[in-house]
Symmetry: C2
Subunit: 336 residues, 2 copies
DNA sequence: CTGTTAGCGCGTTCAT
DNA sequence: ATGAACGCGCTAACAG
């Protein structure tokens, strides 16, 4: 029967019990400074025995940091939008793990960009030691302005040499080229691009796609705007087919857009891939179990997350950093 | 030209500039205590002008709280497992919003349950003011033990009167009954249940399903274990059909499982819903754009998230709370 | 209505 | 190798 009536609330308690000073306990538990090995062991054993953990809030206050990294999801308009895309949740999962490995908490914040300085307000509030912004949305100007005065920030999104901030992302244009080449190699000539070109990532995918098309094909290629929100997305795709359009090849801005297109096509008796070759973008987990399994341009989410965290840590440490871009790959399944 | 050379770092700075004491500034900014209205306005204006925000870490240290709520996702085995299910990301999105509304940060933590006291260790570390556990997984015993000594905890999962903790969840058994009735009404008699019965939520769905079947049908109903991880899930479903099994009605433990089943069926030339009526569970956003659109048992995720947060707040305030259970509804689409 | 003061729990000089 | 003392930024008595 271990008598554990005493509850240890602070290093002062522990110091009293161990018959040493608070600073000795601090040194023992943090591992900093020099200390007699046996003293250190003894104090650590005592801490274990009483299940004592250093108070992170006090530690952070003293060290002038917060111990947290914010992951910001700027939502164009509607709530739930981004997180509803499996791509973002996968990214979030990796970030959570990798930040935890570095000893940081992940603060999840979904922000409705309001006005021009929501980001500046956030970073100035000092609630976190750094910020990872997922997706530029239509907030390029805001990001550039904030980056001018705030170092510990990295952004997931399209590369642009003129950006003032460090970004990590897939070479979206190259992905568009892959999609175009594949559709052409399948003999498709009457093409269509589905997506929302207002997001820079999507715009680059579209530009790459168009650039790889022969002139006569490109002239015949239509651009169909698809909103990012679930219901309107399906309706937009459906309306396109309802209007009698019958392309034979389609490139969608994301796998989710592609699945909306596939569902709308099925509704109009159009068979994928027989009547319509369909290519997505992302290679989310679901792409493989979609019906039919989706041919798609793959982004390496894990590598992206790792780069985001690495670069952020280096910026926090005061280093300069370069934006990086990963090459996408084509994953051939059955939809195209 | 506003000269904003001065940078305000603490209420002491602001107090000096305003010619008042720190406590007056504190009262002005927190809104607590009594204060002359004009003094309050003047200080607030000054704070705005210099973009000053109270230091949350210091505030929390002083108040003996952390200002954060942890959302824990116990992962059976594999990393990425839970977050890969859109059901969980939807839940997470709602929780993030609702906790933010209450002034709490959301600390995301994916934990690999190790040993028997990972939860106790976490709550004792004092890193958060409360814990929301998403899914009981196989950790019922751990939850019960922790609940005995830790109040601010709520759990998303199956209701069980013998649990020591407060849970919020869907009436899974009732959902199973809905699925059974629908399959029977479609004239299906050769049934199968797909899922992982080790999770209590899934077990309840299965039990409800079986309970609503006439004896002669139930005798013919098989249970096919489907792992929670993506690739093995598809392989398990595929192996089932490869073995020559040809049921005419199926109830899947979740929409994601259902989509795996649909993909595996398609691979074996089985048409949904012609040859096989398929019902899922959850009604994730993707259910509507699956091919064919998924008939499914709907859980109200938003209501669930709201209840989790409400109950947690009340437990933090010291109130006693009752577990709640939401009735599911059947959403009829095309797969069954 | 406002100011003074004493900590919240910790890390870190500066002594010894 | 260890201890004493100070302060990170804030809130809450307690005075006045």
């Amino acid at each position: 029967m271990e008598g554990q009536k005493t509850t240890v609330r602070s290093i002062a308690d522990l110091a009293r019990m161990a018959g040493v000073s608070v600073s000795t306990v601090s040194r023992a538990l943090t591992g900093k400074g020099t200390l007699n090995q046996s003293t250190r062991d003894r104090i650590r054993a005592l801490a274990d025995q009483y299940d004592f953990k250093l108070n992170v809030a006090a530690q952070n206050l003293r060290l002038g940091r917060t111990g947290a990294i914010a992951v910001l999801l700027p939502l164009g308009h509607e709530r739930g939008q981004h997180l509803s895309d499996p791509f973002f949740s996968a990214m979030l999962g990796y970030l959570a793990d990798m930040l935890a490995d570095r000893g940081y908490d992940l603060l999840l914040s979904r922000v409705l960009p309001s006005g021009e300085d929501w980001l500046e307000n956030f970073v100035r509030s000092g609630r976190t030691d750094g910020v990872i912004v997922i997706g530029q949305s239509d907030q390029g100007a805001v990001l550039n302005r904030t980056a001018a005065g705030y170092r510990p920030m990295v952004v997931w999104g399209a590369f642009d040499a003129t950006n003032a901030y460090t970004s990590v992302g897939t070479d979206n244009a190259a992905g568009g080229v892959l999609a175009a080449q594949h559709l052409l190699s399948r003999g498709r000539r009457h093409l269509v691009w589905f997506g929302n070109p207002e997001a820079p990532e999507f715009a680059a995918r579209q530009a790459g796609f168009l650039s790889a098309l022969p002139d006569e094909v490109r002239r015949n290629t239509s651009i169909v705007p698809i909103p990012l929100t679930p219901d309107p997305a399906f309706e937009a795709a459906s309306a396109y087919f309802a209007a009698g359009n019958r392309p034979d090849g389609a490139f969608a801005a994301s796998d989710i857009v592609a699945m909306n297109v596939a569902a709308a096509a099925a509704e109009h008796g159009i068979s994928v891939p027989r009547d319509l070759s369909l290519i997505g973008f992302d290679d989310i987990l679901l792409a493989r179990i979609a019906t039919p399994p989706l041919t798609t341009v793959r982004q390496d989410i894990e590598a992206g997350a790792r780069a985001l965290v690495d670069l952020l840590m280096r910026r926090i440490a005061g280093e300069e950093t370069q934006s990086v871009q990963f090459p996408p790959t084509l994953v051939e399944r059955e939809s195209a």
